[in-house]
Amino acid sequence: MSGVRLSGSIRRRLTLQLVGSAAVLAALLFVIVQTFTRDLAEETHDRILLASATSIMDAVSVRSGEVTVDLPYAALSMLSNVSDDRVFYRVVLGRDTLTGYPDLPMPDPQPGDDEPLFQTLDYKGESVRMATAVRRLSLNGVPTHLAISVAQTRTGQVERLDALSRTALMLGAGFFAVAVLLAVWAAQSSIRPLRDLAGMVARRGPKDLRPVARPVPAEMAPLVSSLNSFIDRLRLSLSRSEDFIAEAAHRVRTPLATVRTQAENTLHRIERPENRAALREMIRAIDESSRAAGQLLDHAMVSFRVDSLERSPVDLTELMHELVDRLRPVADLKDITLVLEATAPHPILGDPILVQNAGRNLLDNAIKYAPDESLVRVALNTEGGMQTVAICDQAGGFPTDQLDQLTERFVRGRNAEGTVGSGLGLTIAREVAEAHGGRLEIRNTQDGAGACVTLVFPSA
């Protein structure tokens, strides 16, 4: 993540948005359920109050011009089915109270208005709900009206509504809790393809420049397609530059060999010491260039073969034996003793050309940097499923602060100045080892007299 500027997290934003909308929906659900139950409870209460008033109205009779009411038992007892609340009623004819609670406030019936009236008002220190039924009648030829009000306190209703509110609240909270869980899950699963892709790209080896082939969701197609085309361009550009380097090295090496031969011929022919010294210096420079070109070619070859690694059984013992034999004449020139310590076969699965190339570069390096009449030791070992090839010299070791950078391209040890070299040898060895699933270890010897460079390969 280092070096990447962050602008929040998709998952967090998605989770928050989903949780936020769940909260809004839960609140809405709570309000709707509560409003609905409140309306329903009030309507139920109103209906029973009206039924009570109507049943009293039905019990009104006119006998010889006298209005009388025979209050039915059910008129008031039906109200106790709703709740244990206090009950009040009043029957009014014109302006006179026939019976009931004379101080119960009643609405003034409007002429022509025969609809039942519902009111919430305060009576005897409590909030009551009241229904009023009105009937028009003519008494001795005089039109008048009969109004019947039935009222009930609302304690029970309020208690029931509170209980319903609690239920609605629990419903809302439960809904919210479920929605939060779903939101977290949804956010997780929606970014999973992205995380999978990131993981897949991150797990790739440094040389893996294949396009992303696995199926991805439609929304990620542009990203993956851009990534693939980017990878493609990168690979093209890399292979072009490798090709270019290989081509350049190849074209330089052949003329250089010709130039070297000519220079040596010339050296035999001139007598003057200062000219001979100049010519030797020239030959040394040509060697350096030729060697660099060789290593560049090696590197290009290694890069190419690593891209499509072919594995076949390779015996490290045999391979190193052959290599030591081949380089012994070079070592003899400096009176360097080459020792190979291997008693048993050390089999691995790999590309013999690459492994040989790596070994040759390391051995070459060791011989080149080792002082005259010193010892270069090649030791093969088996350590916990890995086969190791350690090449140790007595060249004074590497500067310890540089150990990590040595395998970078064209990086050379500070103490290597004055010796022919390009700085590609260790890079090639490392790339070969890593391509085979192994590694390269660079270590100075304990006495500080030299260094050991070890190729580590998994056993076959």
Binding site: T68, V69, D70, L71, P72, Y73, A74, A75, L76, S77, L79, S80, D84, D85, R86, V87, F88, T97, L98, T99, G100, Y101, P102, D103, K124, G125, E126, T155
Partner: protein, 341 residues
């Protein structure tokens, strides 16, 4: 003006009795200290054991116990604003009306959940007994006649021999007695046979009484042979009269009255009133009831029997018969039935 309607109702109903009259008064406990003033329709002697056990647990507390008829209780509280802490009454309708019209206060304690829902109205009215409305007959007068088991059988017996029973039947004067009115209205609500029975009683020149006690005495003394709608608990309590009277609970249905307690809103000792209410509740609704509990039937067993016992329901339905017009109409019809001259 606030209780004008109520007053009118009470005036009509109390029939010429216009002031609060008491039937008895006794002070229990020490002369000084806190006093709980109880206005009750229950005879002092019946509740004495419960009062004693209450005071034993509370030294320094006294109870001023006043007995009045249920109508007088209503008048004292609703109309004359007499200062009492609580009322105990057998007139369930009047107790409910006191609660409905806001003269009482709610009471909740550790004991109140013991009271079944049907015996507790709004945590204001608490029942502490269930007592039957029974028929009491004279054992002597009915020797040789099978005692009636239902109202219809009673009607048949009375009709068969009107000369024998003329002037020898009695019932509550419903215009005077709140409990009598409650029993009569519940009868009228339940069965048509009630009106037939009233007409038969009227034709026999029925004698009207204020109280159950007097009716039981009258039967025992031989003044009358049949008393209708007498408190079964009072009749059974008179063990001394057991050889002279027979208590019959009619088999088609028997009304059950609940004696109830309310704590008044203006009480100056609400805590003490609550404690006494709890004492009554605990005595009545414990299983078995407290040893000093004076009423016969353990109230809880009544409903479990699934019998013909009909407990009168606490609730606003009781207010219907207290409606002025309804009451006047009922009293007129009842008067027409029982006074046929």
């Amino acid at each position: 003006m606030r209780h004008a309607g109520l007053s009118l109702c009470l005036i009509l109903w109390a029939c010429a009795v216009s002031a609060f009259e008491i039937e008895g008064r006794e002070r229990f406990g020490p002369a000084d200290g806190r006093v709980l003033r109880v206005l009750s329709t229950t005879d002092i002697d019946i509740l004495r054991p419960l009062i004693d056990s209450f005071l034993r647990a509370r030294p320094g507390v006294a109870i001023d116990y006043t007995v009045a008829s249920s109508a007088q209780v209503m008048q004292a509280i609703a109309d004359e604003g007499e200062r009492f802490d609580m009322t105990l009454s057998s007139a369930m309708d009047l107790q409910v009306k006191l609660a409905n019209d806001g003269f009482t206060r709610a009471h909740r304690s550790a004991w109140t959940p013991m009271v079944p829902d049907w015996a507790n109205w709004r945590d204001h009215v608490f029942a502490f007994s269930q007592e039957t409305a029974a028929i009491v007959i004279s054992r002597a007068a009915f020797s040789g006649i099978a005692p009636p088991r239902t109202r219809q059988e009673l009607i048949d017996v009375l009709r068969r021999d009107p000369d024998k029973f003329r002037d020898r039947v009695g019932t509550y004067d419903v215009a005077v007695s709140g409990l009598g009115y409650l029993f009569a209205t519940q009868d009228a609500r339940t069965a048509e046979s009630f009106w037939r029975l009233m007409e038969v009683l009227g034709s026999l020149r029925v004698k009207l009484y204020c109280c159950s006690g007097e009716m039981i005495e009258a039967v025992a003394n031989g003044q009358i042979d049949v008393a209708y709608n007498v408190l079964g608990s009072y009749a059974r309590a008179r063990r001394d009269l057991a050889d002279r009277i027979v208590v019959i609970e009619p088999e088609e249905y028997t009304n059950m009255m609940m004696r109830t307690a309310v704590i008044l809103k203006d009480s100056t000792e609400p805590e003490l009133a609550g404690a006494f209410t709890d004492h009554l509740i605990a005595a009545a609704w414990s299983v078995p009831p407290a040893p000093e509990y004076p009423f016969q039937d353990p109230p809880q067993s009544v409903r479990a029997l699934g019998s013909t016992l009909r407990p009168i329901q606490l609730g606003p339905g009781l207010l219907v018969f207290l409606d002025t017009l309804k009451r006047n109409r009922f009293l007129t019809e009842w008067g027409d039935a029982v006074q046929q001259d």
